[in-house]
Amino acid sequence: MPGWIGRKLTVNLTDSKAEKAPLSQAHLDSYLGGWGLNAAEFSRAGSNQGLPPPDGAVLSLATGPLTGTLAPSPPITACGVCLPVRRKPPEGSCMHLNFGGDFGPILKYSGYDQLVIAGKAARPRAIFIRDDEIDFLDVSGLDRRDPGEIRAALRRDSAGKFSTLLYTGLIAREEDRSELALLDDRGRLIGGPKLASVFADMNLIGVSLTGSGAIEVYDTEGFRKIIGNDARVFPGRPCPCLSPAESTLNSRRTGQRPTAGQNPIGAPESGIWFSLFPPGPRGFSPAALSHEEDLPGLEENGKGKQGLLADSYIFGLFGLCPTLLSRKSRREEIDLLLDLFYGATGRKLTREGFKTRLGEILDEVMNDENRPD
């Protein structure tokens, strides 16, 4: 299945069981990826068979067809992982967000397009996914507040080169304040206290992922041609999510960690700079995609506010970060996106078809979302 692995992993923490289920081509075609798959998982109208018990938190991370490929922009391993969360209170609310880094790509390399975590562990647990092998580790002995200790412990038990982590810990918010956050292998902030509290509800400390597989694309030569020769794709700019910030470089030189002032919400343990993706989809209208040429240039990179929000969706659906595309217009950007989509999956999607499908998926996401600010 080009562009896809075709499998979903569902982990239940209550009884420490993992279930691998196939994802059909029709399902993937219909939901495109990322947020679409998550919408299908959570949507009341969608195919929600296997939905975990409604009285607990559920976490779903889904990748897109371009996740883990050399598709444009962020240093290529950027992922389109979404984190819809359903928890109480309020009942049935759902939160969606994107994050970069290497969790998404390595999820695909480990053999899954989507990871769903549900249930509640009796004791603090960490999940270790090494390709087909799933382990649950009791981490009661760890100091749950210390992200450095947690990261070291998870890394020690999964020291492979093809590994990455997602874990919780307390980070310095201000000089005299700290809060629970979700961090990745680099110490980048993935989510704030609301998302981290979902992990806490599940008694889940972290997920360690090792993937030694690979992703096949439909038209290797075409894909290679686009990413190798197309000036739209290789702007030669580093990804802001992964590039070390000046404060990090300074800390490497001096050996001192960045202070809270230099790195306002940074993970003090690693000193690695991070950036959060633009604010979520509230207020976005798919109609923005029909006014490609009229996007106001509010941002330095020439993108308007609506464009930024649209980017957030595209990122979440396809698994690529559009912030670094050297495009001239939204029209050109979407053409490139659809070219890449075809190269990866072999599925032809017209501009109009894409907009229609995107609108339908977003409607589903919006209907299910009650994002607390």
Partner: protein, 173 residues
């Protein structure tokens, strides 16, 4: 050890610039396997405590892997890069163990070693082209630095602190 001519070019990595994006690895896996996967790459990004370190075969002038191979499978290519002849290789991984920087990778298909051949025939290796941080450089060695030309692997290894050396795992999972 068998003396041999110095390589014309080598890929040199600047660990302080590497952001660990793995783009070089994906470019390499696409070039040689037509797939995207970290395990298919001949260049490796090592995670260190304080950053990332790209590692790739530097084609040492006195390459220990050439001598240690019991099957004489390690061969010098026309561009002076060193690679494994898959037909001769018996998969003992001796070249991987003896390499001071564990440069040979294990092919996920054959379980035999494979090494960077500098994308022989290409103007510039794919990994160098793919690096957005310019952490990788493809440098001619003959005139730029005599010490480098004599043995880039040894020279480069001396730049590594003992602590960083200890963090480089000898065997891939």
């Amino acid at each position: 050890m068998k003396p041999r001519p110095a390589p014309h070019h080598a890929i040199l990595a600047d660990g302080s610039k590497c952001s660990g994006c793995h783009r070089c690895e994906l470019a390499c896996s696409l070039k040689f396997f037509g797939l995207f996967g970290l395990a298919c790459s001949r260049i490796r990004i090592h995670k260190l405590d304080d950053g990332y370190l790209p590692l790739v075969c530097l084609a040492c002038s006195q390459a220990p892997c050439l001598d240690v191979c019991p099957a004489n499978a390690r061969e010098v290519l026309p561009n002076q890069a060193v690679d494994t002849d898959g037909d001769k290789c018996i998969g003992c991984l001796a070249c991987l163990y003896i390499c001071p920087i564990s440069a040979p990778a294990i092919s996920p298909e054959t379980k035999k070693t494979m090494t960077c051949n500098l994308c022989a025939g290409e103007e510039e290796p794919w990994c160098v082209r793919a690096c957005p941080e310019k952490a990788l450089s493809y440098l001619p060695l003959e005139n730029t630095n005599r010490e480098l030309a004599a043995g880039p692997g040894e020279y480069w290894l001396r730049l590594l602190s003992p602590r960083k050396r200890a963090q480089i795992s000898p065997v891939s999972p």
